[in-house]
């Protein structure tokens, strides 16, 4: 159990989140992927705090708050998306097409 392992796990989680972000059609699935990425970041923070000291954990606290706020707003937008398109598929909402 050392710093490298934790960081490897964090980057794995992050990349899985990126994969989810790029490939999922449903808005909620994308939010999940985002959640995943945020957690990866927090994990890295904690790992550094543990193995190298420093205020890592403090960051995580704030990060948590921000993530929660983001999810709340995200879901509100998903509700609007659903109400407008009767479906949460993201690629249907392309009104901003040039």
């Amino acid at each position: 159990m050392n710093l490298t392992h934790c960081l490897l796990l964090a980057s794995f989680l992050f990349c899985v989140g990126v994969y989810g972000l790029l490939t999922r059609r449903q808005a909620v699935a994308v939010l999940l992927a985002l959640e995943l990425m945020m957690n990866a970041a927090n994990l890295a923070f904690v790992a550094f705090a543990h193995f190298r000291g420093g205020p890592g954990q403090l960051f995580v606290v704030f990060a948590l708050a921000i993530t929660v706020a983001e999810v709340a707003i995200g879901l509100a937008l998903v509700m609007l998306l659903y109400r407008r398109h009767d479906d949460t598929a993201l690629d249907r909402a392309s009104e901003t097409q040039g």
């Binding site: 972000l21 790029l22 993201l90 690629d91 909402a93 901003t96 097409q97 040039g98």
Partner: protein, 599 residues
């Protein structure tokens, strides 16, 4: 400014005042007769001034006053003013007298015009007199050029006086363009003179090749204005204008401006023998060429037009031979009898209502005075001994005999024979022989038309004897001697006349008329000029127009088009779908990271 200059200035400014008054007060011009009266009054004043100048002028005196016209950095770059010397005084008199006679003649000749165009006619005449006088009394070549162009303008306006006739419109524009093309030479001459001497004075001492350059360019302008060989095609077409205009401008004064320029700028021409040589040949060729063509013209005015061309060739040849006075003397006498001939022709045309010689015939019984005056003019032109033409033409030939080679001499001798021959033809066709239908009910013209004829007949008869006085004034030597040339010339003149009587008396055509007629109809020179204009100039301009509209402008449009088109394509990148944007963000981050790592 001594009294002489003020009189000369008067002769220039009074016609200008009359013209400006008519322009500024349209009711005066539209009234017709009052405008005519004003202009004739102005001509009278000008003539009186010139006569007074003649009497006061003592030989050899040159008085010149100049007012700075353009001042740059304190120095007068160009100036205008008045220059009174032997040459300008005589020329002023000739111009004013002929102009006065023509204007009086026009009173009757143009009486069936509407009052407004009648007024316009006389306004233009006043403007012409002003321009010609400016040219005659010019103290430097720049003012002479200004007069030169203004005279070109009035010729353009007067040829196109009956502008409802498309042929008159074309003729006036053709005249202006050809003279403007030739005047390009005058401009270049002025530029060369200015670069060499920072001034426009004709007494400048120049190196021979600058002098040759300047004089050659000046001669180019003279070829245009005095209708010498290549550029003579506009003169016959200029006959579209009213006959008094042809008499004044295209016979006596305007076309003589070219010869006057050479006489005026004689100090320059003296320094350039090469140009004189060219002048000699061009003059002789024109004289002979024009005389041949005059022989076959059916329109009386065209005959006189070509005759003018031919006589101008005489004068240019005389100047080419180095004798300025010979050219000038012939210019003076020619102005009088050619104006007389044209006014005579005008009176005949007015009576017969047609220019064609075929419609005339046997007018001697119906129009005795016109016949007599026209006869005097014709004989004087032909060079019959005793008349003005004889003295001046033979003096030219005498000068030529000494200085130039024998070919120009023989050409001019042949021309004098041909001149007598075609004038004989005109006399017989118009006044001799049986009456044609139209000539039947012709009647003698009124007093107003006959008086000028008579007035002009006097100098046509007597001007020859004034040769001595004139020579003394302009400081040239002149003596009448009965050498070989005068005798041969007069015999040729008389032979020409008799030949005409024998040939045309019996109604037969001239021996080789057929060839000349086909030559005239072919009018190769005229066709080359119009070809040059239509195919070369308009062709090149059409190409330029196309290049500008579809290449240079096209390029700008293409730039505009590509901008809009590329904008449209880039716009398609914005798909509006979030995934594409997410992909762009991630890939971008990745690339930056890679760049950071690999750098």
């Amino acid at each position: 400014m001594s009294s002489l200059q003020s009189w000369a200035a008067l002769a220039v400014l009074v016609p200008l005042a009359a013209a400006l008054l008519c322009v500024v007060l349209p009711p005066l011009r539209r009234a017709g007769k009052p405008a005519a009266a004003l202009c004739i009054l102005a001509s009278l004043v000008a003539t009186a001034a010139s006569i007074y100048l003649l009497t006061q002028h003592e030989a050899g005196a040159v008085t010149r006053t100049e007012v700075p016209w353009i001042v740059l950095g304190g120095k007068a770059l160009a100036s205008i003013g008045v220059n009174v010397d032997g040459v300008s005084v005589v020329m002023l008199l000739v111009v004013c007298v002929v102009a006065l006679c023509v204007q009086v003649f026009s009173l009757a000749y143009m009486h069936d015009e509407t009052p407004s165009s009648y007024g316009r006619y006389f306004t233009l005449h006043a403007l012409f007199l002003f321009s010609m006088n400016t040219l005659v009394v010019a103290p430097n070549l720049l003012q002479l050029f200004a007069g030169w162009e203004l005279v070109g303008l009035t010729s353009y306006l007067l040829i196109g006086f009956w502008f409802h006739k498309p042929s008159a419109a074309r003729a006036s524009v053709k005249a202006f363009w050809m003279t403007k093309l030739a005047d390009m030479g005058f401009v270049f001459a002025l530029l060369a003179l200015f670069v060499a001497t920072r001034g426009f004075d004709w007494n400048a001492r120049l190196s021979t090749e600058t002098a040759t350059l300047v004089t050659a360019l000046l001669f180019l302008a003279v070829v245009g204005k005095s209708a010498q060989f290549p550029l003579h095609v506009w003169l016959p077409d200029a006959m579209e204008g009213p006959t008094p205009v042809s008499a004044l401008l295209h016979a006596a004064t305007m076309v003589a401006a070219g010869v006057f320029l050479i006489v005026r700028a004689d100090p320059l021409f003296a320094q350039a023998p090469a140009t004189c040589e060219v002048m000699l040949w061009v003059g002789s060729i024109t004289a002979l060429f024009a005389a041949c063509l005059a022989l076959v013209q059916s329109d009386i005015k065209k005959v006189l037009a070509y005759s003018t061309c031919s006589q101008l060739g005489y004068m240019v040849a005389a100047l080419g031979a180095g004798s300025a006075f010979a050219g000038f003397f012939h210019l003076g006498t020619h102005a009088f009898f050619k104006a007389l001939l044209f006014l005579g022709a005008g009176s005949v045309i007015h009576a017969v209502h047609s220019n064609e010689l075929a419609d005339m015939g046997g007018l001697r019984r119906k129009m005795p005075v016109t016949t007599l005056t026209f006869g005097i003019g014709a004989l004087s032109l032909a060079g019959v001994p005793g008349l003005a033409g004889f003295f001046s033409k033979d003096f030219v030939l005498a000068q030529l005999e000494g200085k130039a080679g024998w070919i120009p001499w023989t050409m001019l001798m042949a021309t004098s024979f041909l001149t007598a021959f075609y004038m004989g033809r005109v006399l017989i066709k118009a006044f001799g022989g049986a009456e044609s239908a139209k000539a039947h009910h012709a009647h003698e013209s009124g007093g107003a038309m006959l008086l000028p004829l008579v007035v002009l007949a006097v100098p046509a008869l007597a001007a020859g004897f004034l040769g001595g006085v004139l020579a003394e004034w302009s400081g040239a030597e002149y003596h009448v001697h009965l050498g070989l040339t005068p005798v041969v010339a007069s015999c040729l003149a008389i032979a020409g006349l008799l030949g005409a009587v024998m040939v045309f008396g019996r109604g037969r055509a001239a021996p080789f008329a057929g060839v000349l007629e086909s030559l005239d109809r072919a009018s190769a020179v005229d066709r080359t000029w119009s070809g040059l204009y239509r195919h070369v100039l308009l062709g090149v301009s059409a190409v330029a127009g196309f290049v500008d509209r579809y290449f240079v402008d096209g390029l700008i449009n293409a730039v505009g088009y590509t901008t809009i088109e590329s904008g449209a394509r880039v716009r398609r990148l914005q798909t509006g779908r979030i995934h594409d944007y997410a992909m762009a963000v991630v890939v971008g981050a990745l690339l930056i990271a890679l760049w950071g790592v690999l750098r």
